[in-house]
Amino acid sequence: MLDVRDLTVRYGDLTILDRISFQVNPGDWLMIIGPNGAGKSTIIHAVSQVAPYQGEILLKGRNIRDYKAGHRAQLLGVLTQHHPLNYPFSVEEVIRLGRYAYAPWIFSRSDDEGEAYIQRAIEQTGLGSMLKQSILTLSGGEIQRVFLAQLFAQNPNILILDEPANHLDLVYQKQTFGLLKDWLKKPDRAIVSVVHDLGPARAYGERALLLNKGKVEAQGPIGEVLTEANLNRVYGMDVFAWMRNMLGQWQN
């Protein structure tokens, strides 16, 4: 579905991403993993056409640059990490905008199918009780859920998620990963996510792309990528010992 070839991003002399290639097939959940500054978010910016890049990104076999904005949004949706908000729009107004790509004109016929997606998205994210609330009054986690609901309403084939569990407390973190896993069960869907926390990445991801300083360190099935040798080399510490130590805190 998504075919990234020799993706390179440079800011001046600085090379942020150096010839990254990967593929995403239907049913995949690809985890992009790596330490701070590895270039994880930059991949998302490039794929979602926000940052300038060199190389080729094919969406369903066609160069993503050749898509019209609305068509692209029907196939590929993005959840970003930061949402700088200025105006008191209501939760519902933000979620409803997720349907823009399906009825972009004021005279477009009403999008009845969309209404069902909107209602389901509201239900799934548990926002039913705060639809009229201003987004400026929400906490970071609640804002993250509002934009996740907008993304579910948009219902693209590929979800690109930058730290989807960012700001979420444990209950919603578990729920969000569960939701995404269910979402993935329908045919012709895939997820690419940047995840900081190696625990959930390992638990939910099928494949992983391990990045270090803008280069691919390893990619493939998640079990083969997140090996002791790979992680220790990339993070420069004994990751497995640390994870076991953390887990050990909960044994008694």
């Binding site: 979602s48 904005a69 970003t80 200025n86 209501s90 107004e93 933000v94 905008l97 972009p104 004021i106």
Partner: protein, 347 residues
Amino acid sequence: MRKREKEGFGPVVYLLFAALTFLTFAVSVSLGSVRVPLGDTVGLIWHALWRLPLPETASSPSIILAVRLPRVLSVALTGASLSLCGGAMQGLLRNPLADGSPLGVSSGASLGAVIAIAFGLTVPSLPFAGTMVMAILFAFLSLIIILALAYKLDYSLSTNTIILIGVIYSMFVSSIMSFIITYASDRVRQITFWTMGSLNGSSYGNALVLLITLLVFGGVILAHARELNAFAIGEENAHHIGINTRRIKLIIMISVSVLIGVSVSIGGTIGFVGLVTPHMVRMITGPNHKRLFPASLFGGAIFLMLADLLARMLLNPIELPLGVVTSFVGAIVFVFIFYRARKTGRA
């Protein structure tokens, strides 16, 4: 399934807006250096509208029909245009302090008009077209220069950057304007008019040009209310939900430039209307442009008619330039808004 509420206003609200606007209009036409009873004014307008013979009892029909009516019409249309522009820019730039005047777009437009006057640029057979075309052109150029500079300095287009660049740009423009005034000293009076802003002496022709511009380019802005909602929430999010952000930005910026350019070429720089009205309207309607835009149109017309009335009545029989009144009120409101926004950490 929950029934979906309509985002825009119902017909009752529109009727209320129209009634309020007409009332302000009638009062505005009646009052002035010569007072005409409100009933006579409405009667006169009614008769003129249907081309009926004017009633014998009418007092001073020529003042009403030839002087005040076209002027107040132009004032109302300018107020509506400038407010709509302000609302659109505030949404597009996600910034409640954006507008033609702090951004320097109107001073840019007036520079265009002044250059046209000083160098006598005219389009043959169309006496007003020279200043108008130059005003529109300079409004658009100013918008591009300011936004390009702002993007280079600070990609997120924060309030502080915009205000800073707007102020610097306005100073730059006024220095060029002073230079031109020194050069073309025989036209100083005409040029000063543009920098102060006044709709004194507007004709029906002016009102018609304003009306057509508002119908076309105001219509374009109104048709993009949903896209501007998305911009107001966040430009990157707007991109992700499938909006061609570059195209929308260009469409809105061109429409705003034409509206401001035409307004400035007829009435000069009337500062802060576009900033203050949408902001006050937003406090009542909320940020959704499907409500904000229609309310701003009517609100802007009413606000500017009242300001114009004040300009005529305050030192009667001496008339203040309209821009002086709006800038006086506007600057105070501007500081108030900025202060409040800073306190709540949203600037």
